[in-house]
Amino acid sequence: MRFLTALVALGLIASAPAQAAFPEKDITIVIPYGPGGGFDTLTRKLSPYIEEYFREKSGKSFNKIKVVPKNMPGASGKKAAVYTAKQKPNGYTVQIFNIPGHGLPYIKGENPGYDIEGYSWLNRVGGDSYVVVVSKEGPYKKLDDLVNKSGDLKIPEQGPGSTSNMANRITWSTLGKGGEYIYGYKSSRDYTTAVLRGDGDVTMLASGSAKRYNKGGDYNILAHFADEVDPAFPGAVNGKDIGHPELHSLGLLRIIAGPPGMSKEVMDEWNNALSYAVNHPDIQAWSAKTGNPVKAYDTTAETKKALMDTLNYFKKFRDVF
């Protein structure tokens, strides 16, 4: 009996390891798209600083732990989301999510094989708002010019279901204007160039992309749907100016999340690492130089709220998608 007790005690000790420090091995950040895009660039830029945080925290200068970005493109991000949902919730596999993109099935009431609400939501690492872009050489100088155009607007776009397509459809239906979508452009850069070339009248972009693409001054930004219009877009109106402040909810969020069921300790550790990386002066300088919006804020609860607010706002317009 004493032997049995000893055995049980031994078993208890073995099964309750002394608060092992996270992380103890390499970490994977899944990128749901191929190399080269905004999500890929941001993740790869942040990874060394996340690694630096974990190294400094461990106090060992030769900490071998690596943060490895892993591209998993496929099915508009669905493949990666399904993969991440199936991983162990131990913090060693997390993913960068595109909101509202990954929430489209939730918005439309479809089952994509993952539950967007179930993930362990960590800090938001980037967020952006939308702008309305036209060619400087074109006939449209104000947002009203677009609304008053006879017939539908021609809008070059990536495809149905893309986040900018959702933004366009919500905006133009709110403003009571019909849109004819020219799909098939490969990237936001591609369809913005299409506007410059005259393939269509107008398109919508994340404000960071708009700043990058407009360095040569080829475009006019007619509206910026944010509480404060960015000084980089002189002459642009916002939703409040045109009586539709609700358009400011048209957001684009870049959030890191892990599989459902991560422990609070590991999530806190992750949030600290993400805040460290995002606030690092190198990252902020890079963000300012390239126009890639990188913002550190939100606790887990706030992130989840921002996420659901965005998704529920888009959900109201599910009939126009």
Binding site: G36, K45, G161, Y183, G184, D199, T290
Partner: protein, 507 residues
């Protein structure tokens, strides 16, 4: 800053010959060489793998490393295309058509020499083109709308169909098969799923690289295994020597018209966003066939050296061309460029019309490094060719398992996806059947690349033109391409009717 500021250009070259720059250039070239030789692993894979390592490097060094990789991969990819009928990178597929028959005749050295020289010279011509385009990149990108892409895709399919002569009908069947394969998956324009049968893997359609590895490499290995013996068959081992390689090097110079035309096609096609090196190489090949004297056409597909020079010069020249839209608008001209774009952004450079003013120094370093790496690559390939060429005499029982292993690893390592390996095997078998029953395989890769481009551009043209295709006749650049299509058909028909003897075709 003036785009063609001589001080900046000179500074870039001086910088390139600093010790650490040379180190990165040679390192990049060697990495590119290895990735280029291994079937399935091309410059794109090498660049993607190098991204994390380049992050902490100084931007100039990172660009030099990447330029080294990009300059060499297509050159070394020709080696396996010629020796094993296994394109090292997708664009080298065109080189197999005549390069491999040359190997079978024991003339591998000649083919490799010609390919290396054509690649080096083509690359330099491409870079010269890029330099000339630097001041007017913006205008070029704005000239090409979906209307033009539609017509260019049609031009590509027309030239490839015509190049197969009397096997025209069989070629159409192969082309249609390619178009069907290309249509699998979610369609961006219509938002519909086609031929996916509820399988998630097919949602994004078949991936180009696993399909190509299967269709060209695995099929050939099945064939070789069935035949037994070695690639070179009864070819004499003594026939491959350094003299033969040197003789091959002179071929592109002797046939300078082919070289220039191939390079021009390469740079032109490369400069078009989304149309990559595979199209450039096959277009150069088919145009070489259609513009050859009717009496010479018979020899294509059976080991005509022109069939090596044309695609290889185009393949390397396209790098210079592809940099134009990449830098000017951030629209990648090829798959490599899409990855390279992320390197630029990572290092704080913003591709777009202003990159010429804001990061001109880096652009010139890039140009210098790309030009230098092309030359280094050719020298390495030429000097090592005669020893690499001995691979063709290895017995199939040894060779087939090794190549198959590389093909499978290459296919798997793309996305660590086992279904890619299945795709490779399936298309290997399909490619073998096409070979076995005498179907010319050349239309397949072009259909698979151009099919989606043609379909998307067609829908876009309809939308832009309010439901009609009449805008095709409103734009001068469209009319020029339409005239090119008509000219190709007319030129071919002229040759067709003037021929009295029977026509053989490249397969």
């Amino acid at each position: 800053m003036e785009a063609l500021d001589l001080a900046v250009i000179a500074e870039a070259w001086v910088r390139l010959f600093e010790l650490d720059s040379l180190f990165y250039l040679v390192l990049g070239t060697l990495i590119g060489l290895v990735f280029g030789v291994l079937p399935g692993l091309g410059g794109t894979t090498a660049l993607a793998i190098l991204i994390p390592f380049s992050m902490n490097m100084e931007p100039g060094d990172a660009i030099i490393l990447m330029a080294g990789v990009m300059g060499v991969a297509p050159t070394s990819g020709a080696v396996t295309a010629i020796l094993l009928n296994t394109p090292g990178t997708a664009p080298n597929a065109a080189t197999t058509l005549d390069g491999y028959p040359l190997s079978q005749q024991g003339k591998a050295g000649l083919a490799i020499g010609a390919a290396a020289a054509a690649s080096g010279l083509g690359g330099i011509i491409g870079i010269i083109f890029l330099i000339a385009m630097v001041p007017i990149t913006r205008e070029i990108v704005l000239m090409f709308a979906p209307t033009e892409f539609l017509l260019l895709a049609v031009l590509g399919l027309v030239t490839v169909s015509l190049s197969t002569g009397k096997k025209f009908v069989k070629s159409l069947i192969v082309g249609l098969f390619g178009l069907i394969i290309a249509s699998v998956g979610y369609h961006e324009v219509t938002g519909e799923e086609r031929f996916t049968f509820g399988i998630d893997y097919l949602w994004d359609g078949f991936k180009l690289v696993p399909v190509m590895i299967g269709f060209f490499a695995v099929s050939e290995m099945i064939n070789l295994w069935a035949k037994r013996g070695s690639v070179a068959g009864s070819g004499e081992m003594e026939a491959i020597n350094f003299r033969q390689v040197l003789q091959g090097c002179l071929e592109p110079i002797k046939r300078w018209k082919v070289l220039l035309r191939g390079s021009a096609i390469g740079t032109g096609v490369g400069a078009l966003p989304g149309v990559g090196g595979t199209v450039a190489a096959f277009m150069a090949y088919t145009i070489a066939v259609t513009t050859a004297k009717p009496s010479e056409r018979d020899s294509f597909g059976k080991g005509n050296i022109v069939g090596v020079i044309a695609p290889e010069s185009a393949n390397n020249a396209k790098e210079g061309g592809a940099l134009v839209p990449t830098l000017a608008f951030g629209i990648p001209g090829s798959a490599e460029m899409a990855v390279f774009l992320s390197v630029l952004i990572l290092h704080g450079m913003v591709p777009g019309p202003t990159i010429m003013t804001e990061s001109l120094d880096i652009i010139w370093i890039l140009i210098a490094a790309a030009a230098a790496s092309g030359v280094i690559a050719s020298v390495i390939t030429i000097s090592a060719a005669s020893s690499i060429a001995k691979l063709t005499f290895v017995d199939s029982r040894t060779l087939v398992p090794i190549v198959l292993a590389f093909a499978m690893i290459g296919s798997y390592s793309l996305d660590n996806e086992i279904y890619d390996v299945v795709t490779t095997l399936v298309f290997g078998f399909v490619g073998f059947l096409f070979m076995r029953f005498g179907f010319p395989r050349i239309a397949f890769p072009l259909a698979i690349v151009l099919g989606p481009l043609m379909e998307t551009s067609y829908f876009q043209t309809l939308r832009i033109g309010d439901g009609t295709l009449s805008i095709l006749f409103d734009r001068p650049q469209s009319i020029v391409i339409m005239l090119l299509i008509v000219a190709c058909i007319a030129y071919y028909l002229k040759g067709f009717f003037s021929r009295s003897d029977s026509e053989e075709t490249p397969a």
